[in-house]
């Protein structure tokens, strides 16, 4: 089960946040911005404190009530998917989310890069994708 999706731009700003289930706490939009910034910083530090050479940043965060999977694109945008702790095959879903992002966000001529995403088609595509998953 997918709980929510966050998209963080390369500067650590939250450009998209959406909940798909009620399992997680509801926070104010300001809190979500703070969480995204925190995660961005932590992601950078986790590659520095690695006990072995050349580690990436944090990829999976395991908690008792959820699991967070982070994928970073080559351009530095981070996609965070929050799922239930037992969820499998998130990679497939991540790729589909990225497809939607490229089709309905990046190809949108009215979208300003690094700014919050406002696209009805992206929203609709996500709703469809999550309900199928």
């Amino acid at each position: 089960m997918i709980y929510s999706l966050y998209i963080i731009n390369k500067a650590g700003g939250l450009v998209y946040q959406r909940d798909f289930a009620e399992q997680l706490e509801k926070l104010s939009s300001n809190d979500y911005l703070v969480l995204a910034g925190t995660f961005h910083g932590v992601h950078a530090i986790t590659s520095k404190i690695s006990p072995v050479p050349s580690s990436s940043g944090i990829e999976v965060l395991e908690a008792e009530t959820f699991k967070l999977i982070c994928t970073q694109t080559l351009t530095g945008t981070k996609f965070l998917l929050v799922t239930d702790p037992q969820h499998q095959n998130v990679e497939v879903l991540q790729k589909k989310v990225y497809d939607l992002y490229s089709n309905f966000v990046m190809k949108n001529p009215f979208h300003t890069p690094e700014m919050p995403i406002r696209s009805d088609q992206f929203d609709a595509g996500l709703t469809k994708l999550i309900s199928e998953a």
Partner: protein
């Protein structure tokens, strides 16, 4: 499967214990830690090793078949006068010249941020279990008193939270808390050759407290208990995930 290192933090964000397990071959170990290897072979005894921070080689058990000797030799000193945390080389990748003190602060910062992140999202007090990168996995366990146990392993290891809990319950409580020489110094536990005079008295002023801190050999709170170090080393080595 490997276990890289173990940190213990007290609730004042102070790193009170660090231990590292190196999985390199002895030959390459010698070039990295030339001084510490020679010191250990000379002194090699259980009581002479006073450093709080040690590096131990995974192969030392094979080299030295005597079990009493091997555990002592494996937790060797980092140099006679180098037992300050700031002078130790970082536990992170060799070549990265961050001091252990700096690294411990970063680890604590990451763990605390993620703990609060999880708390905020899930609304539960004790939610953060572990995180994984492409190269390692960090496991986290916090006691109700705020002690934080952190272990780094390779990314395929199953949750080590039970292991951390066991280190707390069976080793920390047994060898550190039940140690008669441990002294409660207002906020921190400390071990050392303290006299009766050193025990904090109610109404002690701050200047006196600061003076006492300075005269102390080991900063308050650090676990300098060699028995604990040996026991942790033996326990981690006995795990099936340690190779």
């Amino acid at each position: 499967m490997t276990i890289h290192n173990l940190y213990i933090f007290d609730r004042h964000c102070e790193c009170i214990y660090f231990q590292k397990w190196s999985h390199q071959r002895p030959s390459s170990m010698a070039s990295v830690n030339a001084t510490s290897t020679t010191t250990s072979s000379k002194t090699g005894g259980l009581l002479t090793s006073t450093s709080r921070y040690s590096t131990s080689s995974a192969t030392s058990n094979v080299v030295d078949s005597n079990p009493a000797n091997s555990s002592a030799a494996s937790s060797y000193k980092a140099g006679d006068d180098n037992n300050r945390i700031s002078s130790m080389q970082s536990a992170a990748t060799p070549g990265n010249n961050m001091s252990l003190e700096e690294e411990a602060k970063l680890v604590y910062g990451v763990v605390l941020s993620l703990r609060n992140f999880v708390r905020k999202l899930s609304g539960k007090q004790d939610g953060f279990i572990a995180y994984k990168t492409s190269a390692y996995k960090l496991h986290y366990y916090e006691t109700p008193t705020g002690l934080k146990f952190i272990i780094n392993s390779d990314q395929y290891t199953e949750s080590l939270r039970p292991v951390l809990r066991q280190i707390y319950v069976q080793l920390y409580v047994e060898f550190v808390v039940k140690n008669a020489l441990m002294r409660f110094d207002n906020t921190r536990w400390t071990i050392g050759s303290s006299t009766v005079h050193d025990i904090p008295i109610a109404g002690d002023d701050d200047a006196e407290a600061a003076e006492r801190q300075e005269t102390q050999q080991i900063p308050a709170g650090y676990i300098s208990n060699e028995l604990f170090r040996v026991a942790v080393d033996r326990f981690i080595r006995s795990l099936s995930v340690f190779e």
